[in-house]
């Protein structure tokens, strides 16, 4: 019985594995193999084992700059999406009294998720540009004399575009875990004399932990794996790890690029497994 049961489970799971093995496991292995090969300089790979590619990547000052920039944007984006996402979800779950209205407002937050990310990023250009809406409004009001240059094609614009795209990844899981908090627990805490801050600290935050963890995984992995927003919104002023990877690939420097990609992937996996160690997401979602 037990054997046939696990057979059935594997039968159900086999289509998923048929996608994950050839399109996740094997490609990563191919990149791993490429990272220990030598290049002939013309895009060809010479199959000899070498760790020189890792040596080159790890000893280059450029690498540390790239990682510094990428980690900086990841942390800033994570911080602002978490702040916004947490309080937006909190507002919808605990402050909006009409449940139908709460669902409606929630849907309003999610609609842009289903539209093109690139278009949403570009849409900041007419606002933040030198002659954009924000600058002309500020000039008009006499608050500034010269257009603010830092608004577009800067680190600021990169963070704005990321937060705009990714806050939804925080709102949805946090909303989901907050909605499951039994309101009677909160009421009981109030009646037992807890302050609002205590309730936040001792009830809401711990019980939203799985949502926060899931949201953080999404935001951090997307920002660290992205190059497009940094490239366009910084106007070429900032680089990213994956951006450099892409440049290397376009000049056929496969082994170096692969080594850098493997390092990034390992960092991401370690980060995600650390987060997953603190919360059992699978259990949290399924129960």
């Amino acid at each position: 019985m037990a054997v046939s049961r696990s057979m059935t489970s594997w039968l159900y799971i086999s289509p998923l594995m048929l996608v994950l093995v050839p399109f996740f496991v094997l490609p990563i292995l191919v990149v791993l193999v490429a990272s220990v090969f030598e290049t002939d300089g013309f895009g060809g790979l010479i199959p000899t084992f070498t760790l020189a590619n890792y040596g080159t990547v790890l000893t280059s000052g450029l690498t540390y700059n790239l990682y510094f920039e990428t980690v900086k944007f990841t942390i800033l984006t994570w911080f602002f999406t978490l702040l916004l996402g947490f309080f937006v979800a909190y507002f919808l779950v605990f402050h909006v009294r009409n449940p139908l209205l709460a669902i409606g407002l929630f849907l309003i937050c999610t609609v842009p998720f289903w539209t093109s990310n690139i278009i949403r990023m570009i849409s900041w250009i007419p606002l933040l540009g030198k002659e954009g809406l924000i600058n002309s409004a500020l000039l008009h009001l006499g608050l500034i004399r010269e257009p603010l240059e830092f608004l577009l094609y800067s680190g600021f614009a990169v963070v704005v575009a990321y937060v705009h795209q990714l806050t939804i990844f925080m709102i949805v899981p946090i909303f989901n875990s907050m909605a499951r908090i039994d309101k009677r627990v909160v009421e009981a805490a109030i009646d037992a004399g807890a302050s609002r801050f205590d309730i936040m600290r001792l009830i809401i935050v711990p019980l939203s932990k799985s949502g926060i963890a899931l949201g953080s995984i999404f935001v951090a992995s997307i920002v660290m794996g992205d190059f497009f927003v940094t490239k366009v919104m910084s106007g070429g002023g900032s680089a990213s790890v994956v951006g450099a990877f892409y440049e290397d690939i376009s000049v056929l420097q496969y082994p170096g690029a692969a080594a850098s990609a493997i390092i990034l992937t390992v960092i991401l996996l370690v980060m995600v497994s650390l987060i997953l160690r603190s919360v059992d997401i699978r259990k949290e979602i399924t129960q």
């Binding site: 799971i13 594995m17 994950l20 289903w114 954009g132 806050t167 909160v186």
Partner: protein, 295 residues
């Protein structure tokens, strides 16, 4: 914690009801602060997008910023007729067809996987870890890996082989996670009842599980479609010689500095809204029919 003080507290609560979000009476100051924050978020979310939709309706003098110059459909015509903007029509066509294939596979496979994950089975943690890994792996790296793999085997990359697989490695983990959330609201007793009444496994799935989960499956379909329709990093190196829509938009952002770009934004958003509308409409239809059947 003993039970006595708690029951006292509950009794008191009936008398002086002042919860964090009281169901009636005056609202705490935090309500107004958070309502302000929420409004700010929604404006920041929609404001910029609305700006580019408006700017896409300028006439031939139009530029990339306000003020608005004239009112016409010039840039929409430009978008679909000019050579310099690339093959937008073909890109739409390819992206939508690919997204439909991805959607169908995502719904079926996510459903099957969620069925498997309801029970523990040998190796389930490995499958789950692979799924999360596939979700968080940098898309471009994975795309290049797929490209190199196809190259090594000697197959040309093309939309319905390499790009399809690369996109599924992104839409499936999403779909399964959504199915987890959907399944958590499914009561296993219904399934047991069906079995007790003599239903076969297939009958149980077809007559009990699928109808109950139908709205959730529509949500998975919506995920599958949009994630594929908008997928960029994984498709870049796997789509073969012809561009999908996001790749087309990408090359336009680097080459085109006219409101054509905004016109493309407007058109693709209209398509997205049609898809969302269709999905929501289907869910409402299912719920209505279910309500009618129950009464």
């Amino acid at each position: 914690m003993s039970a006595v003080p708690q029951s006292v507290a509950v009794a008191e609560a009936r008398v002086t009801k002042h919860a964090i979000a009281p169901s009636r009476g005056s609202r705490p100051w935090t309500f107004y602060v958070l309502a302000g924050l929420f409004t700010f978020y929604v404006i920041a979310l929609y404001g910029p997008m609305i700006c580019i939709y408006i700017l896409s309706f300028q006439d031939v003098r139009g530029g990339l910023v306000f003020p608005m110059k004239g009112l016409s459909l010039h840039w929409f015509v430009d978008l679909f007729t000019q050579v310099r903007t690339g093959d937008v029509k073909g890109a739409f066509d390819r992206s939508i067809k690919l997204a439909i294939v991805v959607t169908v596979i995502t719904v079926v496979v996510s459903f099957m996987s969620a069925m498997a994950f309801r029970r523990r089975f040998p190796g389930d943690n490995i499958v789950f870890a692979l799924m999360i890994g596939s979700l968080v792996a940098p898309g471009l790296v994975l795309g290049i890996g797929v490209g190199l793999l196809f190259n090594a085997i000697g197959i040309e990359t093309s939309p319905y082989t390499s790009a399809l697989g690369a996109q599924l490695s992104w839409t499936l983990p999403f779909g399964v996670l959504v199915m987890f959330a959907v399944m958590s609201r499914f009561n296993p007793a219904w399934e047991e009842a069906a079995r007790d009444l003599g239903a076969s496994t297939w009958q149980t799935i077809r007559l009990v599980i699928l109808p109950v989960l139908a709205p959730g499956l529509v949500a998975v379909a919506l995920f599958g479609f949009t994630l594929s329709y908008d997928e960029f990093a994984r498709t870049l190196q796997t789509a073969g010689p012809q561009n999908t829509l996001p790749l087309e938009i990408w090359s336009m952002t680097l080459n085109v500095t006219s409101p054509s770009l905004y016109a493309l934004g407007t058109v693709t958003t209209i398509i997205s809204f049609l898809i969302i509308g269709a999905a929501l409409g289907t869910i409402v239809f299912i719920q209505k029919r279910r309500g009618a059947g129950a009464s």
